[in-house]
Assembly symmetry: D2
Homo-oligomer: 486 residues x 4
């Protein structure tokens, strides 16, 4: 076969280079697992199996050097390049036997799933680190009060812990999504061959175990044709990125000179030698930018696959997989840099608290208190509180209790009397927080429980990650052992 | 409050109209559930509760007429319009009491989730109908053979059942995704109030039960801020759309005059009165086009939410929800029209089979047989088969068995002898199918089992859908009852 | 023809309703123009032409009532519904003559272009209003100094006029893009018929003139198949939206309590009756959100059209056009609301200036001055300035001139001497601005010129818009006249 | 400055590697041009200028070796790495002087525009080659008739030339868009410095000329902040990709075994050694897939930039530019591979013509002829033609003229008489084509003219491309000369 130079230049060279960096490892594992299975089923005799083992062993020994091979257009792709090496080592006849009951189609699909399961685990790990970091911050800042914004304006006091727990819970759901995506991905299509399976008595369960998959895929047509697992992986990443990205927008606001809540460590900012107070929070800017790129690339994959046939088709294969890779790589980079930058970051606790005391943002609690204490309607409580603020802003010197008595009489006909200190307590951000004790609220007692609960979930996710990786490692070991035992 | 005319024209009018058509029902249910809960907790006294019940009852009685209200700019939105009606009926003081311990923020989030859970169920239902239709077709066409394409070319015979089961399994995974999305959506944020919850002793479990949610959301900040559930809903829809859309591409190819496999019923085609054989398969074209629009709108929502703050913010709210609605509406339309168009469609079974017999697409099976029968290498089997085709194409009159003997001797030194009839059997599409019996293959015995398995899964999903809807209905009934019992 | 109920419900009803609201006017104009052309070419005799004119006149007289027609499935679409009305009025034979030398295909494409040219003009007009508003603000604020951010941090002083002129120039380029899109759109495909044109001696130039197009399209296949004009329209809108959206992000930051530069008028904010200082800048939030939706929908159209055949195909037609419409409608709403909200908005000039005086953000100008005055290297100037700040921050009481002398001697070996007042002038934001006089700089003299230049460009664009609309109006008038003269 | 290891790993290393491969050349040119300008303005003395020239010369001499530098985290980025080299060669003081009146901000924006103008030219060139190829095919196939599809069904005969001219005209408009994008891109932001310009008396026109730009940008704030030129570049590419992609969908259909119109040359297909007739048209599949990826990446850039501030911000810079690069690289690859694959491709002219003769797809022309010849209404002509087909399909042996006489009498009361040969001529695809002579039609005389017109436009575009490149080359030469003359 002789490829046209333009086809070599514009297509095959890129695909060869991508395959070398992304798929060499999985391809070798697949060769070995198929070899073991064929031998185990008696489709291949022991002697041939050992010859093939040697041929594959020689290639495995030089994977680093293979990275330097330049594509020369004399073979179609990495698969055929390896095939040539196998033929050279094992002879054409025996090399040919390795092709029994398989095809490049099912091999490709298997490789893609093997790499994507890694991508998902890496992204998951990055999100777990971020949760760890946020949980640490939440633990330290259960009583760090600041004004939560609604519609970009200070609205009500809350705590840093409360804010972060909202973000952490979102990440916990991201972990559920990523784990579900992993489960759908980690199925073995090997044995689907070109698209209809084979008449040879293969054992799909065997290669499944040897390659660390949890089960074989079902229908062989679908095994080759579908990429729903890939889209699910990307969706899980995309939802994560949007969610985390929204928090990054807040954190960047917190880093502005005007808001001045958050200070990143020196290693994560860009400083000006001449303006020492100018500390560009570039790590977070990059997190946003790299995360946006990842999200954009994820949607690019959807667009690329949309309106293609349901079958074996180039669109879901070699050209596209590198985009899936960079999507996940960028997603993981974005999440990782946030976790790293925040680990040593400091919050300007005093400034946050001061802001929470400005602008009467606790006043709804006063209204609520009046409603509760005196069975007023919400409207009446509201009206009294509004008038009180109005007066207090006009003349800050009159004691609040006095003002309250006056305005409450005006509104309801009855003067409501409070001690001034009690009133100030009612209006304090700390009280506002303290009293909010219903499920999910910011009261420190509640956030302490929530942190504990989230730690438990984090431990559960971490241990899932650990055991999942251990399964992959032990499958790889088992594959090694079975190859050795051929 | 006096809104600027441009703000009324460009924003508030659209939002009011959207709210009327999308959210009036949920809003009333929320009012009722909150009322029952407040009364149950003693936050509202029985007399007030009954006054409010009457006020709400009057509104509920005229929801149809409310659709004709034109927005006039004297109130901000539908919520405030209803509030005005409640005030008129119940008086300002008592009306005000309904606002205790809640906010437009948590009401909005609750409404969005209530509608989106319906959207997800409707889309799921459409996909279940499509599975039903495809299962029916698969059952009829377990032995309908046609050439599966790879890279747009006929590659190997398979059956219609086998093809469809690949598509059905994909839809089964879509159902898992849609159900998971439903579970994340069907959580109750009511009680998160503005964003920090409340100091009132509310009972979030109570409103949860009354509104048919499976549990309350957790952290109140996150309850207002997050839209991960919405993005998960859209992702599940998007993955479904891409998957089904790829099958539609195939079906449209099957409808072409040149391929001529599939004939849609008259009610789903656009005919030419002058060219009776021109039957435009417009129903499938619309399915593609409406499905594409749905997919595009789903990604539009991701773009809209990306890079907004994590908090209460307009971007995730009234302007955006109609786009979520049309995404799901269009997705459901696209899937429904496919199911409907295929239900009575017919396949040109003879033509499919004829194509499967062309082009020697079964020849790999001959090669495999030679390998199996004579322990040849894959390469040798391949070479013999290739030469055999070559000869047979040059001279079709020589019996194949004779050709085989000749070419096998040339390749291996030994003449392989078969009966001509056996050879023809080996090369027949039916044999090709029959012999493919490993997991997921097209052999009719296997697809029969696969169909049975898929029916079981369909029944399971249908019964989940039924019971989920029953829960929503019974919650609504319970809410009615509890309102009546106030 | 009898359509299946599911096809009616899921497809035809939506399309009929969309067509009524979007295309009735253009469709009638096309009927009239085609009628005039056919009569002019002698393809239709005068008597028939007059019968058809009456039939069309009766329909034109009741376009409002037609909006209330509910689709009943007895005809395919609006075109056939009108055809039925024409047949009823003119008889089948004469009605049939109106169909000579045309097809629904070229009619559809003509309608789409007629509506899209309006969409483009409306969006252009909104952007011109925004430029007018920004130019007004720039004129008022040529000397309003504030700290420009880089990487989210205050970096250098500039003026509001300078900032806005950057945004205005971007919008000027948007106008160039929108005008170019208009020119590509405003070509007449009528006469392309089904896709190959016709054998009748039609006059495409005639319908072109009567429908206000600037020229006929060329190749008839392409006239039906292409949607590049539509994608160019959407691209021009998308680039505009991203550009304006980035400015909106800044303006929303300017509205925060913490930055506090911008105050929207009361009619454009959401106030809290209880917290009078909480002024949610919802108009700008909606501008962001509606603009995001528009941008997302624009990309949705690209996705929908991608990977469809190049030909007459449903994907670019009735299902899609409403999405094009809402894209432009939302884009226009978003831009309009910004212009309206800013028209009466006020800037906190004092606060902006105060911020510009903080943080030594003018210090690079001191370094530059030292370089210019003493031929120092940039590095030396930089080092002296940095040390000066450092000292001044440690001890603000020492006169700066004294500090400078000391640190410059330390750096260069020579004490640089300035008067303290001169030094303060060098470091003042006003001086920083004043001295920046190279092309495009913020010096008030330059921004005055730039404003003048931008006004000239605005006038040019406004007069293009006016004359373009006048051409459409006069074409419509001419069409009326020629119809009357039949 | 000491960067955190995670920041180095996740951000700075990627950015350094990207900068080396994308921006080293432009950065050096900018250094040189700035040097020449500073010297020309007397801001730099001749001696210093020559020292800096030597330092830059040493770097320029080793640009290949620089590609091997691994990022080590001791400097921020490529700019600072070069700065270190310059300092080592020229000493810190003189090296510092090169920084006068500029900033990394304006340097970055200048580099981005320099690369993007190249990207646009390369893509334009690829599209011109494709037009050349298509024009060649159109010239050969002015009389190659095939059935044009509407709604996926054969509808009317046309010629390959006619089809391709539709596609060519679309590409001509793409060239207009790409050229417009180039003009907006090729403006020089150098001199905008950090964002407010400078107080130094720089000459922006000088660097503009030396760097091959057509003019300086205007407002300095906008010069740093805007990326509208980039979005315009991407839009022009995106519209091109969708348009070409739709043609590719048709060509892939033409390659199917079932349609069998188009045969790609051997070097562009994937063959099966065993099934010689299976020729996977992988070059076109890759064109679709790589083009889809490019389109997806283009929209990813829009998403990435959307909702960022309008200013100097990481989001539009180092992380994003590689995505712009791969978008254009992939777009150019996709277009190039189509042109290459089609250059030697062959059409199955006989099969196309045969198909055009099937299915009575010329029958509308018979109806039109009856209308023209006998002043029938369109409906009557239509009815006669439909009945004629109906009869002919029932009984092919009756001469058509006889059938016509009979059915026309039935419809109109008068028998229309034609010679049988004349009727067959009227119904022939060749006649159908021949008679379609109005503007843009398929008649060979018209397509001959259209081809000529398109050749003229191609020549014009090619000569624009040539002269634009010549300007860049001569600017580079002039820069070299002026550097030498320092």
């Amino acid at each position: 076969m002789k490829f046209a130079p333009e086809y070599v230049r514009h297509v095959l060279t890129d695909n060869f280079d991508d395959a070398k960096s992304l798929f060499l490892g999985p391809l070798l594992s697949i060769h070995y697992a198929h070899l073991v299975m064929l031998a185990g089923q008696g489709i291949l005799c022991p002697a041939d199996a050992r010859v093939l083992r040697s041929a594959l062993g020689a290639i495995s020994a030089q994977t680093v050097q293979l990275q330097d091979i330049d594509y020369d257009g004399t073979y179609e792709d990495l698969f055929f390049y390896l095939d040539r090496l196998i033929q050279q080592a094992a002879g054409e006849t025996i090399a040919g036997r390795l092709h029994t009951a398989r095809s490049r189609n099912d091999i490709d699909m298997t490789m893609y799933r093997m790499r994507q399961r890694e991508f998902v685990l890496e992204l998951l790990q990055a999100t777990l680190s971020l949760r760890e970091t946020w949980l640490e911050m939440a633990t330290q800042h259960r009583e760090t009060i600041f004004p939560a914004h609604t519609h970009t304006q200070p609205a009500q006091p809350t705590t840093v812990a409360h804010y972060l727990l909202g973000a952490i819970e979102q990440l916990e759901r991201d972990a559920v999504r990523l784990r579900a995506a992993y489960e759908v991905t980690n199925l073995n299509p090997l044995g689907a061959c070109a698209i209809t399976g084979t008449g040879f008595p293969i054992d799909r369960a065997r290669t499944t175990a040897l390659l660390g998959f949890s089960a074989p895929t079902g229908n062989t047509y679908g095994s080759i044709a579908t990429v729903d697992y890939m889209l699910q992986n990307l969706s899980a990443a995309a939802v994560t990125l949007v969610g985390v990205g929204r928090v990054v927008q807040d954190l960047l606001l917190w880093c502005t000179a005007e808001v001045h809540y958050l200070r990143l460590p020196d290693g994560f900012v860009q400083c000006s030698s001449i303006m020492p107070q100018k500390r560009n929070p570039v790590a977070l800017e990059h997190a946003r930018s790299i995360g946006s790129k990842a999200l954009g690339q994820a949607t690019a994959v959807f667009l690329s696959v949309h309106n293609t046939p349901f079958g074996d088709i180039v669109d879901t294969e070699d050209d596209l997989q590198p985009l899936v890779h960079t999507t996940f790589r960028d997603a993981t980079r974005a999440i990782s840099i946030i976790a790293a930058a925040l680990k040593e970051a400091t919050l300007d606790v005093a400034s946050m608290r001061t802001r929470a005391e400005e602008g009467w943002i606790t006043v709804t609690e006063l209204a609520d208190t009046l409603v509760r204490d005196h069975n007023l309607s919400f409207g009446a409580g509201h009206a009294i509180a509004a008038k009180l603020i109005d007066r207090a802003r006009q003349n800050a010197s009159v004691p609040l209790a006095e003002v309250l008595a006056e305005v409450s009489e005006a509104v309801t006909g009855t003067a409501l009397t409070y001690q001034d200190a009690d009133l100030r307590e009612i209006l304090s951000p700390a009280h506002f927080i303290e009293i909010r004790k219903t499920l999910g609220g910011p009261a420190p007692a509640l956030t302490a429980e929530a942190i504990e609960a989230s730690r438990t979930i984090l431990d559960r996710d971490l241990s899932w990650l650990t055991s999942t990786r251990a399964q992959l490692t032990s499958s790889a070991q088992r594959l090694n052992d079975e190859v050795a035992a051929l």
